[in-house]
Symmetry: D2
Subunit: 415 residues, 4 copies
Amino acid sequence: MTLESEVRSYCRTFDVEFSTGRGGTMTTTDGRHYRDFLACCGSLNYGHNHPVLKQALTSHIADDGLAMSLDLKSDRKRDFLTAFETHILKPRRLDYVVQLPGPTGANAIEAAIKLARKVTGRNEVIAFTNGFHGCTLGALALTGSGHHRGQSGTLLSGVTRAPYDGYYGPDICTAEMLDKMLSDPSGGLEAPAAIVLEAIQGEGGLNMATPRWTRRIAEIARKHGALLIVDDIQAGCGRSGDFFSFEALRITPDIVTLAKSLSGFGLPMSMVLFRREFDLWLPGEHNGTFRGNSHAFVTATAALDHFWADLGFAKTVKENALFIAGRLKRLAETHGLSTRGRGFMQGLRFDDPVAARRVQLACFKAGLILETCGPHDEVIKLLPALTLTRDELAEGIDILADALATTLSKTEEPA
Amino acid sequence: MTLESEVRSYCRTFDVEFSTGRGGTMTTTDGRHYRDFLACCGSLNYGHNHPVLKQALTSHIADDGLAMSLDLKSDRKRDFLTAFETHILKPRRLDYVVQLPGPTGANAIEAAIKLARKVTGRNEVIAFTNGFHGCTLGALALTGSGHHRGQSGTLLSGVTRAPYDGYYGPDICTAEMLDKMLSDPSGGLEAPAAIVLEAIQGEGGLNMATPRWTRRIAEIARKHGALLIVDDIQAGCGRSGDFFSFEALRITPDIVTLAKSLSGFGLPMSMVLFRREFDLWLPGEHNGTFRGNSHAFVTATAALDHFWADLGFAKTVKENALFIAGRLKRLAETHGLSTRGRGFMQGLRFDDPVAARRVQLACFKAGLILETCGPHDEVIKLLPALTLTRDELAEGIDILADALATTLSKTEEPA
Amino acid sequence: MTLESEVRSYCRTFDVEFSTGRGGTMTTTDGRHYRDFLACCGSLNYGHNHPVLKQALTSHIADDGLAMSLDLKSDRKRDFLTAFETHILKPRRLDYVVQLPGPTGANAIEAAIKLARKVTGRNEVIAFTNGFHGCTLGALALTGSGHHRGQSGTLLSGVTRAPYDGYYGPDICTAEMLDKMLSDPSGGLEAPAAIVLEAIQGEGGLNMATPRWTRRIAEIARKHGALLIVDDIQAGCGRSGDFFSFEALRITPDIVTLAKSLSGFGLPMSMVLFRREFDLWLPGEHNGTFRGNSHAFVTATAALDHFWADLGFAKTVKENALFIAGRLKRLAETHGLSTRGRGFMQGLRFDDPVAARRVQLACFKAGLILETCGPHDEVIKLLPALTLTRDELAEGIDILADALATTLSKTEEPA
Amino acid sequence: MTLESEVRSYCRTFDVEFSTGRGGTMTTTDGRHYRDFLACCGSLNYGHNHPVLKQALTSHIADDGLAMSLDLKSDRKRDFLTAFETHILKPRRLDYVVQLPGPTGANAIEAAIKLARKVTGRNEVIAFTNGFHGCTLGALALTGSGHHRGQSGTLLSGVTRAPYDGYYGPDICTAEMLDKMLSDPSGGLEAPAAIVLEAIQGEGGLNMATPRWTRRIAEIARKHGALLIVDDIQAGCGRSGDFFSFEALRITPDIVTLAKSLSGFGLPMSMVLFRREFDLWLPGEHNGTFRGNSHAFVTATAALDHFWADLGFAKTVKENALFIAGRLKRLAETHGLSTRGRGFMQGLRFDDPVAARRVQLACFKAGLILETCGPHDEVIKLLPALTLTRDELAEGIDILADALATTLSKTEEPA
């Protein structure tokens, strides 16, 4: 009988004991190697123990650099803010203020909606079908997943659910539908404090918002006095091909949340960005003990300096994303599946969730770790590190191709 | 103009840039040293960069040990769970299951109340005046502080506020008051899912619950079908003198939350403990990307092995706590103040919050960092590392004594 | 300065003092007569002071019959229940239990949703755009009107808003849209306790649900374990042509609310009907002092006996409704308007709410009382008593026709 | 099997069929007479079918006077407002505006708290243990009774429960306790929109607020920016001895709710009174179809003119209340009970609810109708019409005395 609660999840699918990691490979205690196309749910965009980041962290620790520092000033925080401003905000002409609310994505979302409510004096937040934003009470109310929302006890209020882009098929613009209800004096929706969206729904099935829809949503937010929040926790930090997932959509959100790969090393760190005019926080009004994770500042700074000082990295990521897309397209055609996502968060959608599950398990048996997503776990999701070479990507996808070939030909057999 | 939001708080009082830390000392970028009686709000119970923990972490990183691992099995998580069971749970005969819900205290609280609501099928949670439990929506509803609860927009529901032990003076038992209202069929309180309390209210002014009151609250929880949750985020991990703050109160909570000093090194980590019979979680029902912080597992294991394998450390902490108490008692008598708290979370309460603020600033000027707490920030709070020697403690308290002497004699002057 | 609050509404449009009423005519204190096409918002389906009902009430009072009786047994309540069962329930094969929850429609709605929540153990209720269900807190949460929902202070939760039949035009089935979101495990809607709808939205603009859509909604309710509630407060008691508005739609709701014309005389009375299997009420669990309005029982019984003992009355109402429809169709064609509604709740929709308002005022000047409805008050609504002769109807509509001709020809002029 | 729902309540205790009423007597269909000390829960302060009121109503109906009139102007409403201003408001120097929100007490409460929330922009309302304010969602949240609040589904939020005067015994001032929590910046209570209280808790066990406590509550409301609402639905309209129950307490509430005996004849009518400065309603913002009950206006006017034009009636009521108090005091002494209440709402409290129930049933058997109240139904409550002569009162109390003597002597026997 384990000491840990039944709440454990990934260890049920990948039932081995891991010990070390390097780049795109994880190794178990007993020496088996696995290709990692999960990257800790997109938290390791630069792979495990990237040597540049590792060196920076090791050096910081050796020097007795602070491990944590609340919201005190520190040299490492200063370095990070400078790097973020220099490499990310300025080149994109984004005039955002930075809040470090605590080290988890959920905390960033909680801070974002709290701020939007404070700024607007309104309560209701609009969130979308199949969105995922975290498990703390405020974030959970935004999250669509019934599995996480649960069946009893907890009460989730203050959120209006709207259909995401394409939810009712390509011919129906769900943004127009939302605008009609919000504009109707008897439409029965409260004037919203915010509209929260993911540009690519990482947990919800790799659904993508189109530029047109997203810009329409941005207009609707402005028209109705709501702030537009882009949750870039999974799709940000380069995973979409750009640093922010919304760059390709040509919108500038009022608030942005980042976490997961922000530290670049898997260390807990999150951030909220918002237009300076909305910085109505009182000192200490939203806080959290671990909001000054100095180890994470160190690796985040190293990652920004190393990968984002020029356009080369993003260019390579986009090229490799096209390679992934091409391979997945052919696999989809071969097996009657459809493709999902963009950048380094792409996948294959199965009509039958059981088939997706079989493919996932066959991959694991063959040494490839990847997860499923979507409302029925019917989408195989590829989240490899952005730093993988084309050969490494190809080797992983080859395993997937084999698993598809073997598994799908077997699905006729009795279970 | 800073890039960071106005939400920054500690850096306003301690307006210097910190760089390194070792034991009970923090050093600024320009080489000034400060005695640290704040310990990152009680997150550094073993001081900054404790060599044993540092060595373990450095070695782990050098070996390409995982930085994070979701809720996968890993050697480092196994080591941690074994150490926690061996050194903490077994000797105290606590049959708890462990949940790692994400690395912040707020997340632990969110998981705890979600579980209590799930177990009981009830919504309402009873929390106390001056309690502090975090800033995410569910935790914030439990938190008493009006500054954090805010004035607009956000809606906090599902919590019934009850007066803490001694809130109405020593002659009124607030536990009996609560029982009367809960027992009254027309009392108008909902049957509660949980009662949440801190044994020592760290933010609320170092108010202490007596064993008698706490045991009565435990009875009341049982009588009314509610789970008893002890939030040991600040008072736990040895700060009270015992590993858990409730050991001295002779109760066994149904659920316990830990965070802050759990990793021992300042790395984000939190934990929820609960009786095995309440482990009704479905796999993945409450999760968080950073719930498997392997760096934190490594330092936490080292801390447990080093400090908690026998009773010696706790004994020293208790002896030194008595020393602190003695010094504070004399200071209180000299200056007409009162003492608060126990263990390594003690303080001095001022009638005038302005005086407390002046003393805090005078200490900082003299090289001592400590914070204020209480509803009016009227309590000077000492949260030194538990590892400080008696001399180190004495040197800090000497600075405080000087600040008191100087400051309070000046309070007669015109402001 | 009036003693009454600014909350007064109708008296601003119809700024005369009324004294008496008879059939379809209201007379002011100073002797002016008005044709009444408002019927107290549909509460006087048999006109003012109908002689049969008046005689029954006068006789009851003369005999010292009880005026009120809580939920005690009384001869008059027995008479009413017998008549309702005999003339209404049995001929329609409806096996409903009757609850008398208090004398207002809002109270009936409150009881209905409370019961649905009790039966299902769920919280969320689905209500529709432009629906109107009352102003008490539970009913208001269901109501779409922003004017009534208000801007501040009050919190309206527990309701999911869905688009009504035809809300997005004739080509989009909003019932299918609702089913998709409810069926999606990550759709983010809570499993509903009930779906509440009006077959004809009296306040919302005389929007009508089609039989096909309504039957689909009934299926969706069943599929997802929700109760179907038809709010028949305005459209019931014959106004649609049948006693219940849902008869023409071929559905049998789980719960039905009635009020307004139930007493037939304008006396406050409401009723909730529900399938016997859902009668989970405990004695006295939902009550209200005025739930036994004996005067209303007396007139309601007389109305049922007089109008609903055979099919003749309903037949006449339907024939006259066709007459109204024909007249309105021609007026709409002449003036480029569109028609709305069915039965004795029909109207004309204007593109310009100002024009609708002008027509209403011109009618009043010419001795005809009627109101506007719809999200922008852009629909002129005819709610005459069902007892009006065709000549009386024609005379009212003639006034409307004149007002249209005069007003709309004037709208070219500068305002 | 009855057509009516199991929600029926009074008819279970008083299981006979009533037909007529006159003064303090109700008569069944088969001719049995009962003395009525229930007065339809205090809705018949002038008894059944009082001849003066009956004559006014009969005459109004004979003349085809309007039965209902929404919020239109009418001669009968004007008469009522004039009488209310002349006989009630002016002599008491109360500068209130009148709102007619719909005919039930619950509706008046809903309007009152909605207005308080609108005026203050705050959500939370403070209500007291054992308070009863109605069963619609907003009113129910204020109500203490667990039986009415129910166990599942319905969610009651926005209310903070505070202990009523004397709840913790005579030595603890619960008003001071409330003030302490509200004044504490970390007390954890939201700034309240309103404090709602009954001067005498009719359903809660005839608990009485003292003048001192009530004035302290009024100060606390003012200090914290909350409106003071007195719910005078049961205790108002003369039942306390004065027209308003709060007259004896020397406070002037910001908002007052009236219903039950307002029409004087048992016809549904309610009213909200508030200081003119708080009349922030927009036209029609809170409404209800039956808010213009003209029959009720007629009887209410007659009642005001007949009973309240001078001080004689109130004087007699107070004298007779002393008579009732004297009789109850002796009965209490004889049987080891305690007395409760004042005016014409007094009672006897039993330690054993079963004994109270037996006495109630014995009274009914002997021809006296009265009810029990209190959290355990442990208080026998006398609510006779205010118009009863001393002989009639004596006869009823004699029956009670016999029932006590017989029943309590039997309680020793095995159940």
